[in-house]
Amino acid sequence: MSTPLERRGELLRLARVLGVEPDELTALDGAAVEDLRALRHAVADRLLERSREQFSRAVALGDLLPGSVAAKLSQHVMGPVLGGRAAALLTPEKAGELARRLPADFLADVACHVDIRKVQPLLAGIDRATMAAAGAHLREREEWVVLGAFVGYVDDDVVADLLDGFDGEALLRSGVVIEDASRIDAVLGMLSDERLDGLLDAADEHALWPDIVSLNVHLGDAQLRRVTDAVQRMSGPRIEALAALLGDDDELRAAAAPIVERLTPEFLADVAEDVDLAAVGPLLDGIPVATLSAAGAELERREAWTLLGRLMTVLRLEVLAELVPSLGDETLPRAGATIGDPARVDELLALLPDERRTPELRGPAGA
């Protein structure tokens, strides 16, 4: 599932390689993200080959000149576009030396134009402080696509430095365009619970739920549990808004399934108090029967009769068939009395075995 942000990110990368604006790529409307990526790689390879001889000469010159002069040539003569392309031919040692001598804002410019596949071996030669300084410029310029590309190719400690100053929006916007999706799980693992909460806040505030939910497919069990916990810390209105989105989008609902399946009975019991249960139906639909039934049992344990009554008005019969027989004889009349719908109470009672279906059990609820 590719999202609009992912697609926009790939179009921006391709546009940069071609030296045009993204809106000049309308001919590629309808192309899949993976095809856009393959095209970008092919173009980058082509451009490097076309000028390989000249780039090689420039790199050879850099080896002969004093470091300060080589850096000056890189910045003022080659510039960020050619410099970014020629960087593919540097040795890690030379790349590290140049990076130390060049201003961080210029390195950020170069980062926008390098072919990250080609310069990956060089990144190890660049010290963390230099990388972090260039990353700070990219963050300031909101170059999420560039940052998202680098995250896939630099060491964890450098990523941690880069992410250190990111707020929730920055994390989200760079996270959803991480080029190497296999890194998403590790990157998420670097974030504290508080920052994970900030990520979800940003998704809600900037209407980016589809983008963040699409990341689920790249997460392992541990990070899925952490994201689930973060969802469970969200406020009632945010839960309702997320449920409404899931209700409108089958693909999104499928992508959210790993989270929805992990929601706990305790959370559901808590949230029953804060949300309009009728409005979170799409969320409830994806929750395993046993979890929903356990949530009902939790409300019984808390003697939260009104909430249990509300829950029993929205649950599917399949869930109620497991929940209702497990409730105590005193629970149904109390919770049933809050439902205010005799027909629904009758449906609930019908789920009980005959010997438990007594007039007393119907109580005021069934009257």
């Binding site: 001919a27 092919a42 000056k72």
Partner: protein, 67 residues
């Protein structure tokens, strides 16, 4: 990857070829323009480079850059 039309400077991914001949022509034009732009920029950089390098180093610079 699908073999490109004769004049296409790169092999277009199948998904791009599937967009049709107009899309392929547009991509080809963009790639050719990018190549021309890069060649002009490289040429300008090499010429400018000679002026930026300190005078005592210009001889070696010229030999390395121009051959």
């Amino acid at each position: 990857m699908t073999p490109p039309p004769a004049s296409t400077p790169i092999e277009l991914p199948e998904g791009i070829v599937a967009l049709g001949p107009d899309a392929c022509s547009a991509v080809e034009a963009l790639v050719l323009a990018a190549e021309r732009r890069q060649e002009a920029e490289v040429q300008a950089a090499l010429e400018h480079g000679l002026r930026v390098v300190p005078r005592p180093l210009r001889g070696i610079t010229r030999r390395v850059l121009v051959g």
